[in-house]
């Protein structure tokens, strides 16, 4: 597709369950980012992939959060043993390269933990 695609668009899960969120970046973009947007707050950086380099995981809030990027393209953010405070919109963005100054955002996945 032409833009960054995220799925699902909405996810409701029970507390304690694991969830996987998917991001398809723009074709050819080597940099991929995950952010979290909680209600009424700004975007919180989670993790950043650049090509084959080790990802910058400095923003992951706990060891329940992990992400991988297969083949330098699709990325999956996994949250294990979800908690209510994990409820947020999870945004994925990609850019052509690490030094590129414009990141293109997906529509996000709204996660609700009940």
């Amino acid at each position: 597709g032409a833009g960054v695609s995220q799925s699902p668009s909405n996810k409701v899960t029970e507390k304690g369950k694991d969830v996987e969120l998917r991001c398809d970046p723009i074709s050819g973009h080597t940099a991929l980012y995950w952010y979290r947007q909680s209600l009424g707050q700004g975007l919180e950086f989670l993790i950043y992939f650049q090509g084959n380099s080790a990802p910058d995981k400095s923003g992951l809030p706990s060891d329940r959060f992990s992400a991988e990027r297969t083949g330098g393209s699709v990325s999956t953010l996994t949250i294990q043993r979800t908690q209510q405070e994990d409820s947020a919109v999870y945004l994925c963005a990609s850019s052509l390269q690490a030094g590129d100054t414009e990141a293109f955002f997906g529509q996000g996945t709204r996660l609700t933990v009940v």
Binding site: G3, V4, A31, Y33, Y35, G40, Q41, G42, L43, E44, F45, Y48, Q50, D56, G59, L91, A93, S95, A98, G99, T101, E102, A103, F105, G106, Q107, G108
Partner: protein, 113 residues
Amino acid sequence: AQSVTQLDSQVPVFEEAPVELRCNYSSSVSVYLFWYVQYPNQGLQLLLKYLSGSTLVESINGFEAEFNKSQTSFHLRKPSVHISDTAEYFCAVRSTNAGKSTFGDGTTLTVKP
């Protein structure tokens, strides 16, 4: 490390009035500066950016922002707003040698008729 403070969480304004959305940042290194806009039920879009050169940057829809290094500010302005400018606006900074951006908490601009 960087931080961004958007001083107003909500800005209500009447159509055709001027508006200023304030953004201050802190950083120990050189940064790029951005404003993103999120229209209702849409994803974030880049509105404008400051990389280097002229401190005044403009968007195609009439917004402008001025980089003020001494005051560490990057306020967004528009001389006459439209109903269609109603959206949430995010200020962001990024180190010139790192890929991740730090965002402010956002300012909700509501333009009333």
